[in-house]
Symmetry: D2
């Protein structure tokens, strides 16, 4: 028998991916799906392509969940901030996909302009990037699943952090499809006529993921971060520039070695081979790099809805529940 799992806020883009992932997981199954907007409606009615894959209906948001059942929060930040302390007190283990528990108290205050309302829970939250926190995740009660943009660069910068004292500048230029840029379908900025044949930067130097990148990459230098909106649906490609005081260290060797130890990180020979097509519908982080003179350029690609959200959440849950880390994640997901 499979272990039941609850997904709160299950009707959004990320929720849909989670439902698909659990539908093929060998040990886990989605048992409770909440959505205030679609409460009472069958999943297959809201997402017709899930017909035959998920027979559940959405129910109203609730914290009354089957005892001991792990919980995934795919809700807005404020819902997560309220739900987490209560769920912890009821003994649930949690993967929170919102941004609510990713920053330290001071940084949270500076980023969101208010005190963190659940400092006790925050204290025990573990940042859910398995490639850098695997052991702590295994034992965590609360895992803060990383943002999609940080997932494209934090692992890389974290591995290079010991060398970044010798760098002059660290720049992350990120490009995301509409599903990663957070657009709601009613937002004119995401209307077909404003996206097709168009391209633009947004929240230049002001994106809420910037402090998250800074904190968890442990970069001794400020990380400059600018996101852009691509005329496509899914995927984030990040181009990372490291400018060194002197000659670049052997970044290709460092990253290739780092990738070898990880099931979901693939190093490719040249940065020109990194493309969104190769990671869409998968949980992989693809990367490669090239150095020249005192400059290193690293290119990485992820599927923002999987490695950048739902896939990574499942990877974390697998670790927390002592399953194989890759359980239910090696097949492409649509």
């Amino acid at each position: 028998m499979k272990q039941p799992v609850a997904i709160l806020g299950a009707a959004g883009l990320t929720g849909r991916e989670l439902i698909l992932l659990f539908s093929r997981h060998p040990h886990l199954e989605a048992a409770v799906l909440t959505s205030d907007k679609y409460a009472g409606e069958r999943v297959a009615r809201v997402y017709p392509e899930l017909d035959g894959i998920c027979s559940l209906a959405f129910q109203k948001h609730t914290l009354d969940l089957p005892q001991g059942c792990p919980v995934l929060l795919a809700t807005p930040d404020d819902v997560a901030l309220q739900a987490v302390p209560e769920l912890l007190s009821r003994g649930h283990r949690i993967v929170d996909l919102s941004g609510a528990f990713r920053l330290e108290p001071d940084l949270f205050l500076r980023t969101y302009g208010k005190e963190h309302p659940a400092p006790e829970a925050l204290k025990e939250a573990v940042y859910g990037l398995p490639e850098i926190q695997r052991d702590r995740i295994r034992k965590a009660r609360l895992v803060a699943n990383p943002g999609c943009f940080p997932t494209g660069c934090v692992f890389i910068l974290h591995r290079l952090a010991p060398f970044l004292g010798e760098a002059l500048a660290v720049v992350v230029d990120a490009k995301s499809g509409v599903s990663g840029a957070g657009g709601r379908t009613e937002d004119a900025g995401f209307a077909y006529q404003n996206v097709y044949e168009n391209f633009r930067a947004y929240k230049v130097l002001r994106h809420q993921h910037n402090p998250e990148i800074q904190l968890h990459s442990q970069s001794p230098l400020p990380v400059v971060f600018v996101p852009h909106l691509l005329p496509l649906y899914r995927g984030i490609l990040s181009t990372i520039y490291l400018i060194w005081k002197e000659k670049a260290p052997d970044v290709p060797a460092l990253l290739q070695q780092a990738a070898l130890a990880e099931v979901f990180v693939r190093y490719r020979e040249t940065p020109e081979e990194i493309e969104l097509k190769k990671v869409q519908n998968s949980n992989y982080l693809d990367l490669s790099c090239r150095s020249q003179g005192n400059t290193t350029t690293i290119v990485s690609a992820i599927d923002n809805l999987l490695k950048g959200a739902a896939g990574q959440a499942l990877q974390n849950l697998n670790l927390m529940l002592d399953f194989e880390e890759e359980a239910g994640l090696l097949r492409p997901v649509e």
Copy 2:
């Protein structure tokens, strides 16, 4: 009566734009159009949307042109390298849209791996970015029209060059549609299935426009340059990162002032307002910027086929022939 103009290599993407531009120019008209591939065919047969706009036929490549007629070269580099000395000796004034005459002899050798075959002509070539070389262009016999990527950043860096001695790093992350990435329709990399829903970097740190940017921007620091391929047809957006030793100088004021003096440069209040939609089918360079701490991010956008090629060539020709700089260029072009 209008002054006749010859376009050599007129059947490519840039040639098509030139034909359109001359069709509405108040003082100039295309009189000779060459294309070995389409010699003998009417323009409207090759480009049906030019039916009613251009009644000429393409003819075979030739240097026997009407005496005194200005010449635009939209040919490959090697054709331009051969044609230019001969055309100069016949008394033609030339705007060369190829990459043949943009670099100094040493840089040309390092970039293309061979000596420049026409050093005398090269000596008198003027780099055709009106915003930085207007006076020399007026008197030039040979103007080397800039590449599309350099057009997106050289003016900006050139204006800031006096301050760049105080910078630690200069990075240009450029994103181009397929028409700027030089793809031929037979190239599998530009097949619909390989472009749609996809994004990738190419020629990472190795693009032939990099030396051109370095030379003409007069940046005292190396300019790091990486181009990317967008799933769209026309436009280049460049994100430029300047990392300063100390606090950033007042780049917004500098660029706003620089823009005010230029008919084809528009400064917008925030970098989020810069987008391809606003420059497509125009000869404008749009730009804006934001500084924070020791970082400045500048975003610029151009239509690669107009300001990045045919439009700028006409702007140069207007200067050479003492017409208003904007003649035939203020309307959107399709």
Copy 3:
């Protein structure tokens, strides 16, 4: 001096095209532009790509217009229904781009479920398809500009109407980009994620343009009509099927001849040559056909915003004011 023109409802997609068209018209210029939504804002602020092309600002909706000035109505139906009688009484000549005056009273009642509120004005309205109503348009006070879908087929069916008594069936399968399908940017159905990589029929056998096609094509048979939404921005391609009792008449010869007499209709040799790329940004109707056995297939293409709306409105206005029919319309428009 140019003749001033007023455009009511000038801030929509069609209004934007009209502004562009008048900006290059040899004899006419936009003088009054109304938009309640953007009253007081400069056109170039709402449509930045019109910077340098139009220096006017939008003003509130009003019927107090310069005396004798021709009026284009690009408003919703109900605004046009109210405005037209008043404008006529003030002596203005009108091209109405809405659907308000295209149907006879009975058909209007059946289509919209209410009596036409301005029967007197309706009586004198002339259907503004110049290819079938040129002489009446010249003298009209009120021209009802055709819908975009009817423009793709009415001229064709009207020319073939004398033969359609010998047909068994007439089917129009039309495919439109989002700008022709009437979507507002806030409508989730037109969000990028619901349009890209997608295709669907809509208003199957129930589109409001069906009665308009039936009436003005003068087809003795019912015209079956189904529109579809393409994942692109502009253009309508219509595939028209005629099934004949016996062998098909010589439709290619009939249509080729019909096209020869018209400045904005182009007959091409094979139906495979008809494509949206060739008509976008132009005022042309392209068409071709093939017969086999008792079947004829006709393919037509237009730019829905130009020949299907703003361009045709200007073509009508040119006729009404005794200018050349093609004045200001032969160049591609962006």
Copy 4:
């Protein structure tokens, strides 16, 4: 242990889908994959997104296959015409995805202009549309997998065939993404710049699938068929028009009932609900319809690479090998 299967011509678009499908099949596994072009290369090298999913390498085309192993032919017609008789004589059961064995001898001659070279094999070929040939498929040695366009309409027309004697006309207007239109990546017609923002009909009344539709639908009337190329990658939507002599029969009831009996056919309430998004990456045929007066419009949608090719081939193979018909087919496939 899983039953091994051979796929000849496995490196094409359809082959890739087959590899994915077998990777998750409960009883079958791909054991031999041939491709002359990629012989010796690992599948994951040609299709990087299959890394971790398929560890095989392509081998040269061969008929020396494991004894008794079922064979799927995803080769061009001429390769299948040569291979099938030999494979049958060696005792293999075959699903042929090419067009080689779908037509009767006379029709083959008229369609391809040459005698069928393997008339004995042709005689025993069963048309592989499970919804109309299920029992014969179970026992077949050779199944001719239907073309993608026929899959979108033959089942529907076949069910209605008893009524079509009362019809005046049957029209199928089909719209396909590039993967269904058979374009190779080197074909300029499928270059990004010729597909995006474009739409056109092709092979009007002359597509090779037309005779296949006519034959297997058993329509007593000629079926008029025109395919179109959509600016998207996967999916075919067909709009079917039936014009009746008198009032339409109760088509909705007939089709709804037909769908109920089929695992891979879904009837939806309104034709506006049929869209490509809902069938992409699935093996479903979605359909709905509406009648009005003497007209019925039916809309259907499939994923051309799955229900229109690889998925249906597996559905057939499941039947031939006495597995559940839906084995390995209920999950979305990417």
